[in-house]
Assembly symmetry: D2
């Protein structure tokens, strides 16, 4: 899936470029749309009393972007296990690689206990598996 984010003025900093912390937010934006397209939006997760906390993030900044730039964010499912999701992000702007990122996530019930996506939501798990087998190289 490719998600687009247009850089806002309030996302730039005194160096004249998009502040590095915002790419972490762009990753969340893209991930939200992607999870919804897998059959279970983050909204639905929460309505079911589940949460999906972020365990880790990382970004490598390759090229700056600035106000009004449109960033294309491609999402990769790097690893899918019963309890965890490891996601990759390739961000480009007019064809130039600007940032690569990764994030990992788990699923928790309302009591904070790990939830197996595969057992509890097999259709959603299957959608992730199909996405993984159809995607290109990260």
């Amino acid at each position: 899936m490719t998600y687009q984010h247009k850089v806002q003025y309030y996302e730039t900093d005194r160096m004249g470029i998009t502040h590095h912390s915002n790419y972490i937010r762009f990753m969340e934006e893209a991930r939200g749309e992607w999870m919804a397209s897998m059959g279970m939006s983050y909204d639905t997760f929460e309505a079911l009393g589940l949460s999906s906390p972020v365990l880790s993030v990382q970004c490598e900044y390759k090229h700056p972007t600035t106000y009004n730039d449109i960033i294309d964010i491609d999402i990769y499912l790097l690893k899918l296990s019963r309890l965890k999701l490891h996601v990759g992000y390739k961000m480009t702007c007019r064809g130039t690689l600007v940032c690569t990122g990764e994030s990992s996530h788990c699923f928790l019930d309302s009591g904070g206990r790990p939830v197996s996506l595969q057992r509890s939501y097999p259709d959603v798990y299957a959608a992730y598996e199909r996405y993984q087998s159809a995607q290109g190289e990260f």
Copy 2:
């Protein structure tokens, strides 16, 4: 009460100055410390099942600030009524007025019904009254 905020790099924008939206956040920071000093922190409000939504805000920008500037925020209780709080903010940096702001707030119980601070928390209400009578001119 005077609260200090040191401007962070991520709060600046491409114009080289503190982005205007952040002053609304500095007002919230100052207000949080001030409400705690009145005997009832925002944390406590929430622990009691209450909330204090923002009804309105306004800012007039007088002079820009930038990274590492220390902004002194003076808080004024502009109007106190049974159901509402109207707060004023005078922000200076090295003695220069940089921004004036105002915000208004009410108090709601867990069902979203208005709560009279004066009736339910008379001590807190009295602290606000004392603050108001002791403060200078806005």
Copy 3:
């Protein structure tokens, strides 16, 4: 002009709703698109060595919004003078009024001196005039 903003997870707060400071940012987003549609984008302003600082903002919060809500932002030109622009914003979500806002702006050259839009960029000024006479009631 109507601009749409989809509320992101990182724009919500512990109260479960869109943090009030973000509406100031939504106003900037909408204003940027609108100014571009008037014939002179903020990018172009800066490329010409001009800037358009925010002089004041205000918001009245009417109804909360939250993650994934789509906010429709209608822009009104409240007042146009040689040196200043006063803009109004009406924000609705699924037809419900959620926030009204206003902001005022001037135009400065690279030396910080006021620029008359009417004299220096009469076509842009005329576009604003046409917008104003065609718009509905704020």
Copy 4:
């Protein structure tokens, strides 16, 4: 060096906790104070026409924090070379590890060419060396 950040309400999200993207900002805050204590603040860097872009960041989230929590951020100089700085961050709250982070940085002149801190600013380089040899285990 230990830097303290008090979590603000606008830094929390709908999950009731500090939004994960903000820890990247806390790292920048701590790094700014630390660089100033090494003899060359980020302000000075910029005044000299230099910049120090962020090359990469990463965070592992260990435990949530929320509004009013005070986060202690310990800074480690993980690797110092002629052209790069690799920094580690250990964040605790009331003694509990909440997040570990890393970031790497280079130094560029006004033309975007790499600057050797060791050659151009030997005193600053020496201060970093002393910090590194005096610090504990990351």
